[in-house]
């Protein structure tokens, strides 16, 4: 914006000497003064006309700036609206269950002495439900807060292969139990990347968790890294899992989109990944084939 503005005023600076030059152009001896006067008036007029135009363009630009600002603001509001209705939904469901369990406990209290085995069983069952629904709410709010707290990435040099290897080791044990192999295809001399390690760890972990969930049992996850030689490095997490149906592909990065049964997934994993990768200046994309598998690809700038 600033660049444009100074560009135009420089144009005005050229115009003034140009007009003066035109006005002082020799037009012969006879009537020269008259011509010179006419040219001067013309030059003056066009100068003011031009200045007026520039002024109008500037004003229009300012207006469009304000419009941009308004647009961003309304987009933000829309995003907040969407997010809060998502949060409301995800929290209201466990709350509804908690409320009902409390009412059921009250009913048990009023109608029985809680001496019988069956009543005691129902009583403790309700208590268990309440506590597990509280866990579910906590999972959502903690994930959101975790994400909200760390708004700005703290950039430092990262050895990507090692960071990824650490995360792979973290999920490997449990994956092995389900006969899921994690294969590492790391490029050896990968350049150091300037990025935010805790952020990246979270992204890799989310992708690995999704991959193991998609495979369930018996399959492989291949994590590869490579230098794209264009100032970017590429991380790919490929699984041999169930794949993503076409109609879901455009929704998977939306907050709260999940195909897991109620209470089992927040649907925040990929939207957090997307947000993080954007903040560290990278991109994340996905290709998937139903019943074959899914590959998530992250491209990160080597220097931000």
């Amino acid at each position: 914006m600033k660049e444009n503005f100074s560009g135009r005023s420089r144009f005005v600076n050229y115009l003034v000497p140009l007009c003066l030059f035109a006005a002082s152009w020799p037009v012969g001896r006879t009537g020269g003064a008259l011509y010179a006067l006419g040219a001067l008036i013309l030059a003056g007029l066009s100068f003011f006309l031009f200045r007026h135009l520039v002024h109008q363009i500037n004003q229009a630009e300012q207006r469009s700036c304000e419009l941009d600002e308004q647009l961003i603001q309304s987009q933000k509001l829309a995003a907040i609206g969407e997010l809060s209705s998502g949060i409301a939904h995800e929290i209201n469901n466990p709350l509804a269950i908690i409320g009902q369990e409390v009412e059921w406990l009250r009913h048990l209290f009023e109608t029985s002495t809680l001496q019988e085995e069956k009543d005691r069983g129902e009583f403790s069952d309700s208590l268990k439900q309440i506590s597990s629904q509280v866990d579910r709410c906590r999972d959502i709010t903690h994930k959101l807060l975790n994400f909200a707290r760390k708004m700005d990435p703290v950039m430092q040099a990262v050895e990507l292969n090692r960071l990824i290897d650490d995360m792979a080791a973290l999920v490997e044990k449990e994956a092995k139990l389900n006969n899921i192999n994690i294969i590492r295809e790391f490029q050896k001399d990968l350049p150091l990347v300037t990025s935010d390690p805790p952020f990246l760890r979270q992204v890799i972990l989310n992708l690995l968790n999704n991959a193991t969930y998609a495979i369930e049992a018996n399959g492989t996850i291949t994590i590869s890294t490579k230098d794209n030689k264009d100032g970017r490095v590429e991380i790919a997490v490929a699984d041999t899992g169930r794949g993503i149906p076409k109609e879901h592909l455009k929704k998977i990065f939306d907050p709260f989109f999940t195909t897991k049964p109620p209470g089992k997934g927040t649907g925040l994993g990929l939207s957090i990944c997307h947000g993080i990768i954007q903040r560290v200046g990278g991109t994340i994309s996905v290709i998937s084939q139903l019943d074959r598998g899914t590959t998530f690809t992250i491209r990160l700038p080597i220097a931000p």
């Binding site: 209705s85 409301a88 939904h89 995800e90 929290i91 209201n92 469901n93 709350l95 509804a96 269950i97 908690i98 409320g99 009902q100 369990e101 009412e103 059921w104 009913h107 309700s126 439900q129 195909t259 049964p261 109620p262 209470g263």
Partner: protein
């Protein structure tokens, strides 16, 4: 009327929500059963008689809105109460389009729900009578 229990179908994909609500409604002299999806709800409605449907919006497979349209086609006199955790205005508008149903936000105390179900049941009885009188 006093001996008759309104028949209610609770459509929600959360098993525990469904089960406890059914137990609670049964203590309030309402005959409640459950369905875990829009598909199952439609099957049950075609096979059995219900008075009031409690319908969740966000469910895998068929959404509550889609189910609502189909339910109204099968039995226009059926009272539908949307019971959802989702507060979106768009959804509410979408529901209004299909007409003749209430919109309640979760969590909703069972007493309030029971009152709404009773009111919906009475509406249904009146509408059925009116329909029977008009030739």
């Amino acid at each position: 009327m006093s001996s008759y229990k309104p028949k209610v179908l609770v459509v929600d994909d959360e098993a525990r929500f469904r089960e406890t609500l059914i137990k609670l409604l049964n203590t309030k002299l309402i005959e409640a059963t459950g369905a875990e999806s829009g598909m199952e709800a439609i099957e049950k409605i075609t096979e059995n008689k219900y008075d009031v449907i409690l319908l969740d919006v966000r469910m895998p497979g068929m959404t509550g809105i889609e189910a609502l349209a189909k339910i109204k086609k099968i039995d226009p006199l059926l009272e539908v109460i949307i019971l959802t955790g989702h507060a979106s205005v768009d959804t509410a508008i979408e529901i209004m389009k299909h007409g003749g149903c209430e919109y309640l936000l979760k969590p909703c105390p069972v007493d309030e729900l029971t009152a709404r179900i009773d009111a919906a049941y009475e509406r249904k009885v009146t509408r059925t009578k009116v329909k029977a009188k008009t030739p």
